[in-house]
């Protein structure tokens, strides 16, 4: 009966419209458990991306969170644990919960188990500095949202590592190489001086993953991280995500329009449409026997490999 890492209740996000504020996310509730992958499946305009952005305080203006709470029990200091990617300084902060390797939360803010944790939707700006990157990190569909075109990828990694782990420049450099190797970038040492425009889309997304795991977050928010990539590269990145998740024990919330990606990666899934959760459950339950007609429609709309025109497959 462990407390979920994140408990989201009645999340409502709205944007100004022609007739007052129009909700893009309408009372969405879900839990994220430590170490699991929660998939959010939906088409454009379903509110899946805004639900995710609200959790890390990145709802773009003029949109805003109108209501709800997102209770974070993962603490707000650096995570402890031997196999994190940081080289040193792995001391839990005074008020942070100390996470063990198995993802169980010990302590926290010292409250009772149900209410310990803090509401991400009402967190002051300066408090985010201790959460973003350290506890919750995000990767986007477009790596340009995370990479700065005028700094080399090495400089960006080193900067993040110095901020997050307080490393010296030379230690941060060594750690940056280790992070690039960890996301399987070949000749990592030589890549440090590269700028994002010199990298392929797949390599860029590997770099953003390296940045995202620099602080060994307990939760990774991934918004369509493979949508802009070719299928063989998507396959590589999804495999890498699974690998990093296993090594770091982090939970992932994966937003995708692609049923195949969700089926492959997620343990549980939320199906969203028009800002609402229509259906939630394990991937097996929802995709094999959908309860909501919309989910069934989505499933039916996915073209199947074996449904080629001209009838039956050769050789049965």
């Amino acid at each position: 009966m462990s407390v979920p890492l994140l408990r989201v209740r009645e999340l409502t996000v709205a944007f100004p419209g022609s007739e007052g504020e129009e909700p893009a996310v309408r009372g969405v509730s879900f839990d994220v458990r430590a170490g699991e992958t929660l998939g959010i499946l939906g088409e454009s305009g379903s509110g899946k991306t805004m639900s995710l952005r609200a959790l890390i305080g990145l709802v773009p203006a003029p949109g805003r969170v109108l209501a709800g709470e997102a209770l974070w029990t993962g603490g707000d200091g650096p995570r402890a644990g031997g196999d994190g990617p940081r080289a040193g300084g792995e001391v839990p902060s005074g008020d942070g919960g100390v996470r063990r390797g198995d993802g169980e939360v010990l302590g926290g803010d010292g409250g009772d188990s149900e209410r310990s944790g803090r509401d991400l939707l009402r967190m002051p700006k300066d408090a985010w500095r201790r959460v973003r990157g350290r506890q919750i990190a995000m990767v986007f569909q477009d790596p340009a949202e995370s990479l700065d075109p005028v700094f080399s990828i090495g400089d960006q990694l080193i900067e993040v590592l110095r901020q997050l782990a307080g490393l010296s420049r030379s230690a941060a450099r060594r750690e940056a190489v280790r992070l690039l190797e960890r996301v399987h970038i070949p000749a990592a040492e030589r890549r440090l001086g590269d700028y994002s425009h010199q990298l392929s889309g797949g390599m860029r997304q590997r770099v953003t993953l390296a940045l995202a795991i620099a602080g060994a977050p307990a939760l990774l928010l991934a918004d369509e991280p493979t949508t802009a990539l070719d299928v063989t590269i998507q396959d590589q990145i999804l495999s890498l995500l699974a690998e990093l998740q296993e090594e770091l024990g982090m939970a992932i919330v994966l937003v995708s329009h692609d049923l195949g990606v969700i089926a492959q990666c997620a343990d549980r899934v939320l199906v969203m449409r028009a800002g609402e959760v229509l259906e939630a459950g394990t991937v097996g339950d929802v995709l094999d026997s959908p309860r909501h007609p919309y989910t069934a429609e989505l499933l039916a709309a996915v073209p199947r490999m074996d449904a080629a025109p001209g009838g039956a497959r050769n050789g049965g």
Partner: protein, 345 residues
């Protein structure tokens, strides 16, 4: 060598019937590259990027052929060469038996009318200042298929034919959804009663439910009007729904071709097998596994020697680095350019 190497793809599909509508023979297309786009070492020297390296295909009336490949495989360059928007360095494209490079005046206009392109981003192909009705009817009166004064009525018909309400004729492109815009682009292509549609990633930006509707529309157009379709896509599952024949491209070459159902169920080329294995959702939930293919598509500025897929191929051996693989027949109408294509278990 290049021509022979990739020759004949797609031709089996129309064997024994009348001459193909559109035929490409051993197309080679290079682009000169200079300056900052080159690696530092090679700057100052003239370089050529090889986008197509001996591609042949034939599409007959009412046929649906799929072209599949990753970005950088040459799919879009192929589409542009087929409609004479790009001039190939070598090889020919013929339309109804005539070389398109030699078409002028009314003959070129006929090609432009008969073969219509639909692109991935309809927003880029529609003028934001012109309402949908004008945009849809314009090609028809430009090609003198209708009189200008009846264009609004004609537009209404065209919009209905793609499942849109005629009232949309008064809207501007930005007032439409992505799916509506793509239907408008299709209506516009249909305005000139084409014989062949070339759809270049035309469904890729659409939501899956909208994709299914537009796919159904294309299938109907083919069935009811006998319009041929060359369907270029990186999505295998969509190609499986629409194309009888599929061509798999890699780095400017066709590496496998054949009946779609057969190619997708019994791929003869390791690249096709890799593409199929990389489709998401084939494996459920979280089980870690190695990616289907390693590495990325090499630069078309430096195409590997021998077999161009060898740098990513799980089966590559010494011969692959030195010898360009020949065409290997692996079933009726099914061929692959791989040294091991004939040795499937």
């Amino acid at each position: 060598m290049a021509g022979a190497g990739s020759g004949g793809a797609g031709t089996d599909a129309v064997a024994g019937e009348s001459a193909p509508l559109l035929q490409a023979r051993a197309l080679v297309k290079r682009f000169a590259v200079t300056g900052a786009r080159l690696p530092a070492m090679r700057r100052g020297r003239a370089a050529a990027l090889t986008a197509l390296d001996g591609v042949s295909l034939a599409i007959g009336a009412g046929e649906a052929i799929g072209v599949v490949g990753e970005s950088g495989s040459g799919k879009s360059t192929l589409a542009k060469c087929l409609v004479a928007l790009l001039r190939p360095e070598a090889g020919t494209v013929s339309y109804s038996g005539a070389d398109v490079a030699g078409l002028r005046g009314p003959d070129l206009a006929r090609l432009r009318r008969d073969v219509q392109l639909i692109f991935q981003n309809p927003y880029a192909s529609l003028n934001p200042l012109i309402d949908v009705g004008e945009a849809v009817a314009e090609p028809a009166w430009v090609h003198r298929l209708i009189e200008r004064r009846v264009r609004r009525a004609h537009a209404a018909e065209l919009l209905q034919s793609v499942g849109l309400v005629p009232a949309l004729a008064h809207r501007r492109p930005h007032e439409l959804s992505g799916g509506q815009r793509q239907r408008v682009a299709i209506a516009r292509a249909l305005a000139v009663r084409p014989r062949l549609l070339i759809a270049d990633e035309a469904l890729s930006a659409l939501d899956v439910s909208v994709q299914a509707q537009v796919l159904e529309l294309l299938r109907e157009l083919r069935a009811q009007r006998g319009i041929g379709i060359l369907f270029i896509s990186h999505q295998l599952s969509v190609v499986a729904r629409i194309a009888d024949t599929v061509l798999i491209m890699y780095l400017g070459r066709i590496v496998e071709s054949g009946p779609t159902a057969r190619v997708f169920s019994e791929p003869a080329h390791p690249y096709t097998a890799g593409l199929l294995a990389a489709q998401p959702g084939r494996h459920r939930s979280g089980r870690r596994r190695a990616p289907a293919l390693k590495g990325e598509i090499p630069s078309p500025l430096a195409i590997p020697s021998g077999c161009r897929f060898r740098t990513r191929c799980p089966r590559a051996e010494a011969i692959c680095a030195s010898v360009d693989p020949p065409r290997v027949q692996s079933g009726p109408g099914h061929a692959a350019w791989c040294h091991f294509a004939g040795e499937q278990a």
